[in-house]
């Protein structure tokens, strides 16, 4: 009896399901024409990263590495760096401007704009958009943003529209790095339709187009998902209106970006073949490990990231340049590069990175290391094996910089190897570290720097100029140094600038308020068939050049 009941029940259920299934099967397929064509395998690349957009994708506020990476693909500037750039002035090539000229005094720049360029929504690009972009950024003056951080308002007096396709910049000071500044992503042109004059465009859930004000770049943003302020997925699709679309760019139609919580997760994902490209941040050990995999390709490029040791020049012991030099002479950069970073970074003897024009290996004259010099300099001041120079070396512990604790440990042992220095380490997480820096509690601390614009000025002015470097709280100021820096900023002759930067770097070794340690390299890991990767000193990831080889 029971069994028949069950059978009866099953039969009924089966009939009902069959009826429903049959109903759906007989339905004509709906909205076929609305659906997008299938994405071919070759035109889709999946990229993985541990980065995330920090605030938003509006150049008036965005001031983080990844935000700029995306802005660069969604928008265009007046000029841009050619792939493989080294930071030399000749590396800057036309983008939205086709040609430019500068006045005798270096204070008026005139740009002729490319004609017939359209935003992704069809609006025609003209000189008013350029004026709007800079007026807007300077007037919003967002505290988080690059217009305040780099100080656009202190450089640009005003922007005037001469004709539909000619625009003039009047500067407050002669500023030789102006083209580099225009090439940086903060200077990318915005679409007034999406960028209100007095407000920053913030992330809007479910509205990727409304979440950014760009529109002149190789890609459009078709998806931007964030969970609790962290990106979870992004999608870039080719912009048919891109000014260089006829040149065949972008090479890959669709790029999907996946986000990983840490370096280990990212390395595992590329190893497991879940993503085509892994870019930032992979740890030195992960890179070494991935180098051994035959199905992957590891790309190395010049980096513009530097790390350095800052000394508090206001009070003993580092109020004496001799002691600062003694410390600089006792740093074993080879050991740091080989042991801490497994040979994946390079030694740095100047604040200006290797490969950029103006670079001079100024600190090498103090040795690498030269313990005899350290002992000699310190013995003049009464320090010896029994009376060691002792100080606290501060470092950051929350992963804001790569391998921080190891770097600090290595610095300590390299300094102590001199026999006359004793170092105590003190770690703080990034938030607390910043407070300690502000309160000037730290006698010696490690810091890092990513450039805003690719010019020696961005590596000198913010560190060695008495007002430009005040954010470091190292209380260093030398009127002659200030004078040299201002001359170098204002001069547009290449050779004169090179000469000035040479003098600045020599003076920097004499005064020694900051000791450069190393320069990072850029690393990317891809599947074997991914091509078109340029890792140059601009640190930019150019999505539009990357493609999968068929």
């Amino acid at each position: 009896m029971k069994i028949t009941k069950v059978v009866f029940g099953i039969v009924i259920v089966v009939i009902v399901i069959a009826a429903i299934a049959g109903y759906y099967l007989l339905q004509p397929p709906k909205e076929k024409e609305e659906e997008k064509p299938p994405v071919e395998e070759e035109s889709l690349l999946i990229m993985g990263t541990t980065d995330s957009v920090e605030s938003c994708l509006d150049p008036a506020r965005a001031y983080d590495f990844f935000g700029w990476e995306i802005i660069q693909s969604l928008g265009s500037g007046l000029v841009e760096y050619r792939p493989g750039a080294t930071g030399a002035p000749g590396d800057i090539v036309p983008a939205l401007a086709t040609s430019w000229s500068v006045s005798e005094d270096g204070k008026v720049w005139t740009f002729n704009l490319r004609q017939g360029v359209k935003f992704d929504d069809g609006t025609e690009f003209n000189a008013t958009h350029v004026k709007y972009t800079f007026d807007r950024g300077i007037s919003i003056a967002d505290e988080d943003g690059p217009f305040v951080g780099i100080g656009y308002g202190d450089i640009i007096e005003n922007v005037t529209v001469v004709s539909k396709y000619v625009v003039k910049f009047h500067l407050k000071i002669p500023f030789s790095a102006f083209l580099s500044l225009l090439a940086c992503q903060a200077s990318y042109i915005v679409d007034p339709k999406y960028a209100p004059f007095d407000a920053v465009v913030e992330y809007k859930e479910g509205d990727p187009r409304g979440s950014h004000p760009m529109g002149l770049g190789p890609y459009v943003l078709t998806k931007w998902e964030r969970v609790a302020g962290k990106d979870t997925e992004m999608r870039l699709e080719a912009n048919p209106n891109y000014w260089n679309a006829t040149g065949g760019y972008p090479k890959t139609k669709t790029i999907i970006i996946k986000f990983y919580a840490d370096s280990a997760g990212l390395a595992l994902a590329i190893d497991a073949g879940e993503i085509d490209i892994a870019f930032r941040q992979l740890s030195a050990t992960d890179i070494n490990n991935l180098k051994t995999k035959t199905h992957l390709k590891v790309w190395e490029g010049t980096g513009a990231f530097i790390q350095y040791l800052v000394l508090q020049t206001k009070r003993p012991p580092f109020d004496n340049p001799k002691i600062r030099q003694a410390v600089a002479a006792a740093i074993n950069r080879t050991a740091i590069v080989e042991t801490v970073f497994l040979g994946q970074v390079q030694k740095l003897y100047s604040m200006i990175p290797v490969g950029m024009f103006g670079y001079k290996n100024a600190f090498l004259k103090l040795g690498d290391p030269n313990y005899a010099l350290t002992r000699e300099l310190l013995s003049q001041l009464g320090y010896n094996e029994n009376n060691k120079l002792s100080f606290k070396l501060w470092y950051e512990t929350s992963g804001h910089y790569p391998q921080s604790p190891q770097l600090a440990q290595m610095l300590k042992s390299s300094l102590e190897a001199s026999g006359v220095i004793s170092v105590e380490l003190e770690g703080r997480d990034w938030a607390a570290y910043r407070v300690s820096r502000r309160n000037e509690e730290m006698d010696a601390y490690i810091l890092g720097w990513y450039p805003d614009y690719i010019d020696p000025d961005d590596y000198i002015y913010p560190f060695l100029h008495s007002s430009g470097g005040s954010w470091l709280h190292h209380n260093y100021g030398n009127p002659w140094m200030d004078q040299l820096i201002e001359w170098a900023r204002g001069n547009t002759t290449q050779s004169a600038r090179e000469n000035l930067y040479g003098q600045i770097q020599d003076l920097m070794v004499d005064d020694c308020p900051i000791i450069p340690i190393y320069q990072g390299s850029a690393w990317a890991v891809t599947k074997q068939d991914v091509k078109g990767i340029y890792l140059d000193i601009t640190q930019s990831w150019r999505h539009w050049l990357v493609y999968r080889e068929k």
Binding site: P38, A228, Y260, G265, A431, S436
Partner: protein
């Protein structure tokens, strides 16, 4: 006490608890060295801009005014705005919560099933090698760090065997509002589809078999035939019905739990895909907290198995499985239920590390991230949310307790 007054008093008791919790967190985040204002300036610190930022974040007021402002807003149900990106904390928490909830539910299911099965087995073979192995297993899983176990799994199943993905919640093209690929064919074509649909049939059959076993019915030829036909019908129907709907495009979100959403959409591929991504994180977290359940089940079962009614049931010639699960285990289950409520808090704490290891975009990662930024409002909001959640869960567990044990009247 009636049930209603019990529930009301429990909920009322939650209020001072949240209040104390909030006060402690409010003080702790401010005592920690660090300043959210400063963190907005990666490079240059412009004093004027910093002062403006301080006003914008409301940190220029005295601390007790900030405290009462926050309390007042909380009473109105406003968790405030994030100090990092200025968006409302409440919506950030809600966007991250489904991911954590899904992970928590599946981990709990795994932990409890492992705990019960192994615990019962080891109690049945008391002091035999099997028992010792299970006990050691319990201690090891309890002691092993979550992130370590997670990475081992990633290396073995992700990189080595390539069976399961190592991070994320679902395949990129299926991620909500992702690619709209009108694929009429899943990868592998109709054959994969047939194969996958057969799983649905197997699940149905398995459920029937388990039900029959527990009821103690004998497997006759008739039931066997019935099972086979059940399997075939579910398989064929699923294959036919599913074939039409299959698109590998975006997942429609209605609950935020990807496994549930994919089922609501009736798409077995997305469901399988969501499960694959869920597999390693929930297994990691589930294994780590399963140790507690193993030991608890074991000791309770040992006591229950000695009782007279179990002997009586055995004497009546009932099947062993019926005696253990149908009779003894039901009596040993109550303490496990309590433990589930208690372990829920541990689970949320463990989720912090699991989410980081598996790049799972949930609340745990959110909290870590915001602590690093000293985002006071976000940390406070998340802790209040966790507090309410944990007390709610323990309330539900208490109510279930009464439901399972009719002797207990609340």
């Amino acid at each position: 006490m009636t049930l209603r007054s019990y529930v009301v008093s429990r909920i009322l008791l939650t209020i001072p608890m949240i209040f104390i919790l909030l006060t402690i967190v409010f003080i702790i985040v401010r005592v920690l060295p660090g300043d959210p204002v400063l963190l907005h300036f990666e490079k240059m610190e412009n004093p004027r801009a910093m002062e403006e930022m301080r006003q914008k974040l409301g940190l220029d007021k005295p601390i007790w005014i900030q405290y009462f402002d926050y309390l007042f807003n909380l009473l109105r149900g406003d968790l405030g705005k994030s100090m990092q990106d200025y968006s409302p904390v409440a919506s950030q928490i809600l966007s991250a919560f489904p991911a954590t909830l899904e992970l928590a539910i599946f981990s709990m299911i795994i932990a409890v099933s492992i705990g019960i099965i192994l615990g019962v087995e080891s109690s049945k073979s008391y002091n035999k090698p099997k028992d010792h192995i299970v006990r050691i297993f319990g201690i090891v899983t309890y002691a092993i760090p979550v992130f370590f176990l997670g990475m081992i799994f990633q290396i073995v199943f992700g990189v080595g065997l390539r069976w399961l993905p190592v991070g994320g919640r679902i395949y990129p093209t299926m991620e909500p509002s992702g690619l709209r690929i009108p694929l009429s064919q899943p990868p592998g074509g109709f054959a994969t589809h047939l194969l996958l649909s057969c799983v649905a049939g197997l699940v149905a059959v398995m459920m029937c078999v388990v039900a029959l076993k527990i009821r103690g019915q004998k497997t006759t030829r008739k039931t066997l035939g019935l099972l086979v036909s059940l399997f075939l019908t579910v398989w064929i129907l699923w294959a036919l019905a599913g074939w039409r709907f299959i698109t590998l495009g975006e997942l429609r979100i209605s609950t935020g739990l990807y496994t549930v959403d994919s089922l609501l959409e009736g798409n077995p591929y997305k469901f399988v895909e969501a499960l694959r991504y869920l597999c390693l994180p929930s297994l990691t977290l589930g294994l780590v907290i399963s140790g507690v359940f193993i030991r608890l089940t074991r000791s309770n079962m040992l006591e229950t198995l000695r009782l007279d009614f179990v002997t009586a049931a055995k004497a009546r010639g009932l099947k062993e499985i019926t005696v253990t699960y149908g009779y003894a285990f039901r009596n040993a289950f109550l303490p496990i239920l309590t433990m589930m409520g208690l372990q829920f808090a541990t689970l949320l704490a463990g989720a912090v590390l699991t989410e980081t290891t598996f790049s799972w975009p949930g609340l745990g990662r959110y909290i870590v991230d915001r602590i690093n930024f000293r985002d006071y409002t976000a940390i406070q909001g998340a802790v209040v949310f966790y507090g309410i959640l944990v007390s709610l869960v323990s309330l539900v567990v208490d109510l279930l307790y009464a439901y399972f044990d009719p002797r207990i009247r609340l």
